[in-house]
C-alpha cells in the first residue's frame, strides 16, 4: 500500500493528509499519522479507503463536534510521536484534562466513539476523581445535573426485583394508585375537572409507553376523542364493577391471591397499544375508584404475565419493603433484615 511507502521516505512537502467530516458538515484535513492514531479512523482508512480527499472525507460519529475534535487531534498529535518519554506524556495528560466538566464529558464521549481507549481512560479517571467523595448535591452542582429522583428512590436506590421493566412499572403504578386512592378519600371535594385532566395524562403516558399513537396528537385532541367514546364505556360498567371488587379486596395487600389469579387469567401476550385502552373512560365521581381500578387492570393486561409466582413474590416483596422505617442505625438495619428473612 502506498502508506507503507510513505512511511519509509516522507519529505515534509509530501506529507499526506486525511479528510475528516463532522456531523455539522464541516470538513477539515489532518496529518495522516495524527489521524491514524485513532483506531476508528484508522480502520475506516484501511477498510474503506476513504479520507484521501475532500470529497471522500471520513464521516465521524455524531458525538464528535468540531471543538472536541480539535482537542482530540491535539492529543493524538502529541502522543503519536514515538520519541516522547513517559514523564512527558504524563505531564501533557495532566495539563490536557484541566478543562471544564462539560467539555471533559464531551471529550469522554467523543473519545469513546472513536475508540481511543487511552483518552477514554484518561478522561474517565479524571471524572472519577472529580466524583469521588462528593455528596450527591455537590456532584449535581459540578455537573449541572437535575435532581429528579423522588425521596423514596433516594433512600432505596433500586428495588431488588426481577430485571423486568414491565413488572417494575406495574409496581410503580400500583404504588401511585394506592397513593391516589388515599388522597382522594381525604379530599372529597376535589375538582372534577382536575381529575379528568389527571386521568387523561395517565392514559396518554401509558399509551405512549405502550408505543401508542395518542402521543403525537396533543392533549386536547385526545381529550376530545375520549369525550366521544364515552358512550361505549357505559357497556363496560359491569366489567368495572367486577374489577372494583377485586381491587378493593387487594387494596390492602397487593400480593393477595385474588389479584394474582386475575393476572394469571389474562393471557394477553402483547405489549402493544390497543384500541380499548384509549377508550378508557374518564367518568366522573362516584366511578372514580372504578376508573382507577380499570386503568390498573388494563395496564396489568398489557403485561406479559407468564411469571405469576414471580409476580406474586415481587408484589409481596414490594409490600414488605414498605413496612417499617428505613433507619440507618445498626439495630434498625438488622431488624429490617430479620423481617425480610422471615418472609
Amino acid at each position: 500500500m502506498s502508506e507503507s511507502d510513505m512511511a519509509i521516505v516522507k519529505p515534509e512537502a509530501m506529507k499526506s493528509f486525511i479528510w475528516l467530516q463532522t456531523t455539522d458538515g464541516s470538513i477539515q484535513q489532518v496529518e495522516e499519522e495524527v489521524a491514524m492514531f485513532c483506531p476508528m479512523i484508522c480502520r475506516e482508512i484501511i477498510q474503506t479507503g476513504m479520507g484521501s480527499s475532500k470529497n471522500f472525507a471520513i464521516s465521524l460519529p455524531q458525538r464528535v463536534n468540531p471543538a472536541t475534535l480539535s482537542l482530540i487531534l491535539d492529543y493524538c498529535r502529541f502522543h503519536q510521536v514515538p520519541g516522547r518519554s513517559n514523564k512527558e506524556r504524563k505531564s501533557f495528560d495532566e495539563k490536557f484534562i484541566r478543562i471544564d466538566t462539560k467539555r471533559l464529558c464531551e471529550l469522554t464521549s467523543a473519545a469513546d466513539s472513536l475508540q481511543l481507549k487511552p483518552l477514554v481512560d484518561l478522561t474517565s479517571r479524571a471524572l472519577a476523581r472529580m466524583i469521588e467523595g462528593k455528596t450527591p448535591e455537590e456532584i449535581r452542582e459540578t455537573f449541572h445535573l437535575p435532581d429528579d429522583l423522588t425521596e423514596e428512590e433516594k433512600l432505596e436506590p433500586l428495588k431488588n426485583t426481577a430485571d423486568d421493566l414491565r413488572i417494575r412499572l406495574l409496581n410503580r403504578l400500583y404504588a401511585r394508585k394506592r397513593k391516589e386512592l388515599k388522597e382522594k378519600e381525604k379530599l372529597k371535594n376535589v375538582e372534577v375537572e382536575e381529575e379528568r385532566v389527571d386521568e387523561r395524562s395517565v392514559d396518554d403516558l401509558l399509551s405512549f409507553i405502550n408505543g401508542g399513537d395518542g402521543v403525537s396528537k396533543d392533549a386536547r385532541t385526545a381529550k376530545h376523542k375520549k369525550k366521544n367514546r364515552r358512550r361505549k364505556d357505559h357497556s363496560k360498567d359491569p366489567l368495572s364493577n367486577n374489577v372494583n371488587e377485586n381491587h378493593n379486596k387487594e387494596a390492602d395487600s397487593v400480593g393477595s391471591p385474588s389479584k394474582n389469579s386475575k393476572l394469571q387469567d389474562l393471557s394477553d401476550n402483547t405489549f402493544a397499544p390497543k384500541a380499548d385502552f384509549e377508550d378508557l373512560d374518564d367518568e366522573l365521581d362516584p366511578a372514580m375508584k372504578e376508573e382507577l381500578d380499570r386503568e390498573v387492570e388494563d395496564f396489568a393486561r398489557r403485561l406479559n404475565s407468564d411469571w405469576p409466582e414471580r409476580m406474586q413474590e415481587i408484589l409481596s416483596l414490594g409490600q414488605d419493603r414498605r413496612l417499617g422505617p428505613i433507619s440507618m442505625n445498626g439495630n434498625g438495619c438488622l431488624q429490617r433484615y430479620s423481617r425480610l428473612d422471615q418472609r
Binding site: 429522583l149 433500586l158 428495588k159 430485571d163 403504578l173
Partner: protein, 345 residues
C-alpha cells in the same frame, strides 16, 4: 472498552425505555410537560438519542473505577440517569469487598473476635447499596479474610444473589451453622467456594452437595486433616479442583484425597507444611519430598501444583506460621492469589 456493542446497545435500549417510562409514571400531575417531553423523545433526531446513550456508556465507564464502598457516598442518588448507570450489570458481575475489613479485636472466648458497631454498620450499608444496585446480577463475591459477616448479613446477600457462582468467604467466626446452611440453600448455581478451615466441615459439604449441583471447585484456607479430607471425599465426590495451598497438610489426608476423588483434575498443595503423623509413640515429622506413591497417584491429575522448597518464601512463611498462614502480616492481596487460575482472585 472491551464491552460487546450489541448487548450494550440492547441494554441501552431497555434503559432508555425504562427511563422514559419512569419519568412518565413519576409525574402524573404534569400532563402537558410530560406529554411534550415524550413527544420530543418519540420523534427526536438521532443526535438527541445518541447523547443519552453516550451518557450511559460513559457513566458506566467512569463508575467502573469505583469500588462498592465508593457507591455508599451517594453516586446512585445524584439523578435518575446516574442511578440507571450505577445499576448497569457490567458493573456488578463481581462484588469485590477484598479491601473492606472489619474493625475488630481478638477475644479469648467464642466467637474469638469482637467487631465494633460502626464497622458493622458500614458493612451493612455497603451490602445494602450493592444488593440494591446489582439487581441479582452478581456472580462472584469476594470478602476479605478479616471481614466478619454475621448470619443476617450473609443471608441478606444470599437472598439477593441467586445467580452466584463464585464465593470467597474466609471469615466465619460470627456466623452460625444454621446461617451458613440457609445461605447455601439459596445458591443453587454455586460452582466455587473459598472457605476457612473449620472444626466440623461435614455439614457444609453436605449442604453443598444437596443444593449446588454444579459445585466443582473448593479452596480451603487453613489446615487440612483427615476429617476435612473425609468430608470432602464423602460429600463432594465430583469435585474437580481443590486448593489447599500454604497450610498444614497431613499425609493421610493427601493420600485419601488422591485415592478417592475420582473426578479430581487439579490439585494445589504448593507451599504446604506436609506432616506425617504415624501412630504413637512415633513422632510427628515434617516431610518435604513427596514419596513415589504420592507422585504416582498424582500423575493422573491434569494439573498438580506442589512446591516444598526450602528457598521458597511462601514455604518458609507457612513453616513460620505453623501451618496456618497469618496473611495480615504479608503483602496486600497475597492471600487472594493461587497457582490455580480459577481460584485466584
Amino acid at each position: 472498552m472491551n464491552l460487546s456493542f450489541d448487548s450494550r446497545k440492547r441494554q441501552r435500549d431497555r434503559n432508555k425505555v425504562e427511563a422514559a417510562a419512569e419519568k412518565a409514571v413519576q409525574s402524573f400531575g404534569n400532563c402537558s410537560q410530560i406529554v411534550g417531553k415524550l413527544v420530543k423523545m418519540e420523534d427526536c433526531n438521532p443526535t438527541v438519542r445518541q447523547w443519552e446513550d453516550m451518557i450511559q456508556d460513559c457513566l458506566v465507564e467512569i463508575f467502573r473505577r469505583f469500588s462498592a464502598v465508593d457507591f455508599t457516598s451517594g453516586i446512585a442518588e445524584v439523578c435518575s440517569s446516574w442511578r440507571l448507570a450505577c445499576s448497569d450489570q457490567f458493573l456488578w458481575r463481581t462484588l469485590d469487598l477484598g479491601q473492606l475489613k472489619s474493625n475488630f479485636i481478638k477475644i479469648p472466648y467464642a466467637p474469638y473476635v469482637w467487631v465494633d458497631d460502626r464497622s458493622n454498620q458500614q458493612l451493612t450499608r455497603v451490602l445494602k447499596i450493592a444488593m440494591g444496585l446489582s439487581r441479582g446480577n452478581i456472580s462472584c463475591i469476594i470478602f476479605h479474610f478479616n471481614l466478619y459477616l454475621m448470619d443476617n448479613q450473609l443471608i441478606y446477600v444470599a437472598n439477593r444473589c441467586p445467580r452466584l457462582k463464585q464465593l470467597v468467604i474466609p471469615a466465619w467466626n460470627r456466623m452460625t451453622k444454621g446461617g451458613i446452611c440457609k445461605a447455601i440453600r439459596m445458591w443453587g448455581e454455586l460452582e466455587s467456594m473459598t472457605m476457612p478451615s473449620i472444626r466440623d466441615p461435614a455439614y457444609v459439604m453436605d449442604e453443598i452437595r444437596l443444593n449446588c449441583k454444579n459445585f466443582t471447585q473448593l479452596k480451603i484456607m487453613g489446615p487440612c486433616n483427615i476429617f476435612l479430607a473425609s468430608s470432602i471425599v464423602t460429600f463432594l465426590p465430583k469435585l474437580k479442583v481443590l486448593s489447599l495451598r500454604c497450610s498444614k497438610l497431613f499425609k493421610e489426608a493427601l493420600v485419601m484425597i488422591l485415592d478417592s476423588l475420582e473426578h479430581l483434575e487439579v490439585l494445589n498443595i504448593s507451599h504446604c507444611l506436609l506432616i506425617e503423623a504415624p501412630p504413637p509413640p512415633a513422632p510427628v515429622r515434617v516431610f518435604r519430598e513427596l514419596d513415589e506413591a504420592i507422585v504416582e497417584k498424582a500423575s493422573r491429575l491434569r494439573e498438580f501444583f506442589h512446591c516444598q522448597r526450602a528457598s521458597c518464601v511462601l514455604c518458609q512463611r507457612t513453616i513460620n506460621d505453623d501451618g496456618l498462614m497469618r496473611w495480615y502480616k504479608y503483602e496486600e492481596g497475597l492471600w487472594r492469589t493461587d497457582e490455580v487460575i480459577s481460584l485466584s482472585f
